[in-house]
Symmetry: C2
Subunit: 338 residues, 2 copies
């Protein structure tokens, strides 16, 4: 194959920016890179590999000739344009939630279920950030002894709500430090020096969308429809990278040392534990990293078959853009494009 003709739909957002950077860093052979966006963002110029690329308005004809489309412009944009991209002959890796639970669409974390890509019908879904980070960390354990139940509490950074949210949190911090009221245009409540349960819509049982993504997507990725998961998702005043406290129950005891060994060898995981220095994964250190930082693995003293585990991971990188690029790399390697 000479090289790929790749389109990015939503190139100007936080994930789009990261996709461009990863395409520079990594080894996908590019013949063409086409940046597509809504009319609002079209006309911008973005730097790429020493050149400047124009952002053009997405249209019926914009996908002609593309092999691969990486979409990160939100669910409604994906629903509108990805079927057109696929009809034009491209394979689409979608970062939105639009197709994730569609039975015909593989939902893939390359470290976990790359084999699911074989059955794609044009669209492949990239999981939600919190799910990707959790599944990378738990799969090495789950494949040895199936997990029965997960109780998750998350610590999610401002960047999960986009680059404007990050800027708003910085403005809020400055305002609070100067005794001025913090601006809240994007977040419903001040986030700087504060925190609040994730503000996605709540279902009738009181779980928010973000929490239900962790429940449903993990089951689909692990092919474990009966896996019991509960999650509490919380937005915290961190700029970038999400953290998660995971309580995991197995059917039989899981020796801590075995878990440590497995995670020490696991792809996509960097094991970060220094018990002497009280040094464990932190979002500050996970930011900009490809690996999910995992550590603080403990036997749960409240359950004989339980483990406690702590992780931090860059949710824009591995939690979104990198995972999409890795999917594209597997598609190319396995000859599943076009």
């Amino acid at each position: 194959m000479a090289g790929l003709r790749v389109g990015i739909l939503g190139a100007t957002g936080a994930v789009g920016t990261e996709l461009l950077q990863l395409l520079e860093e990594r080894s996908l052979p590019l013949e063409e890179l086409r940046l597509l966006a809504s009319p609002r963002s079209a006309g911008q110029q973005l730097p790429f590999a020493g050149e400047t690329l124009p952002v053009v308005e997405v249209s019926e004809d914009a996908f002609q000739g593309l092999d691969l489309v990486l979409a990160s412009a939100g669910g409604s944009v994906s629903r509108q344009w990805l079927p057109i991209a696929v009809a034009a002959g491209a394979v689409a890796v979608d970062n939105s939630s639009a197709y994730r639970m569609d039975g015909a669409v593989p939902l893939v974390v390359p470290e976990v279920n790359p084999e699911d890509l074989a059955h794609h019908q044009g669209i492949i879904a990239n999981p939600n950030c919190t799910t990707i980070l959790m599944t990378v960390a738990l799969w090495p354990l789950h494949r040895v002894r199936p997990i029965q139940r997960i109780v998750a509490a998350t610590y999610q950074s401002a960047s999960g709500a986009g680059s404007r949210a990050m800027a708003e949190m910085k403005d809020q911090a400055i305002a609070i430090l100067q005794d001025r009221p913090p601006p809240t245009d994007i977040f419903p409540y001040p986030l700087a020096f504060n925190l609040f349960p994730h503000n996605s819509p709540l279902n009738e049982q009181g779980y928010c969308q973000e929490e239900m993504k962790m429940v449903q997507e993990t089951r689909k990725i692990f092919h474990a429809p009966d896996l019991r998961v509960s999650a509490t998702c919380v937005r915290v005043p961190v700029l970038r990278a999400h953290s998660e406290s995971l309580n995991i129950e197995f059917q039989t005891p899981f020796p801590v040392e075995e878990a440590r060994t497995l995670l020490g060898q696991a792809p996509g995981v960097r094991f970060v534990e220094d018990w002497q220095r009280n040094y464990f994964p932190m979002p500050m250190e996970a930011s900009g990293q490809d690996d999910v930082l995992v550590g603080r693995i403990r036997q749960d003293i409240s359950h004989p078959c339980g483990l406690e585990l702590w992780l931090s991971g860059d949710q824009i990188r591995k939690g979104a853009a990198l995972n999409a690029i890795q999917i594209a790399e597997v598609l190319l390697e396995k000859n599943l494009l076009g």
Copy 2:
């Protein structure tokens, strides 16, 4: 009783400052207020009720004539001086961890186990902040159907590490916003825009002291030696007030509506839930409040006998100073002083 002669040991710290404010606000009859501190802090003057009180150096004679000593100067100071205070005839309410697990010392949250005060032998222990907040919220449920297991994840503010820690986090935020390296004199790692597992010493099982306090103190306060508790304590970049995500297991299902009704009537609890607005307890709103804000009660979808619950509470106020003052109020009311 004419009025109480009260001493505060550690009057210049974050909790000491709050104790002074609460003594101004609340109704304990004061005949004398004596401020005691280490040689380092002695000589300062602190405002109280329109006057200025001197901080005097703690000594063998400093407790003479006192009815009540409120101690918040750390474990070693309490161990050194409280036996002397008690020998001099005072009752001591200790905010440090020195005596909490001493079988002869009541560990009391007035909303939960005020009856334990009856058996005091001079020293009464105030529980750790995270434990106080959790027990106030869970006792109304536990007394109806005993809790079998708690899995807690905490979101603890900088102020839990003292007023200098709060100041350091503000300095860190300014430094990071100005692209300068953040100072870390008090915390081991930058806390502003970051977070990390609680940096108290770790035991052989990998649990830190803060976590084991939640385990052991809750058992003692609830008189439930077999209660199973696991906790993950995390320091977050919030100035004041701690939050906790609590997963609670009962032996039989606990209807959510019943839990909601019980917590709506519970002393020390303010029920904060507006599902339409996605509005739940936040540390920003818990700061400076007497009540623990509790909400987001959900049936745990991963366990038929489980509930999920979220809280925020001011750990300097109810988590420390207020609880100590409330203990003193019960002691006075039940004639247990002197």
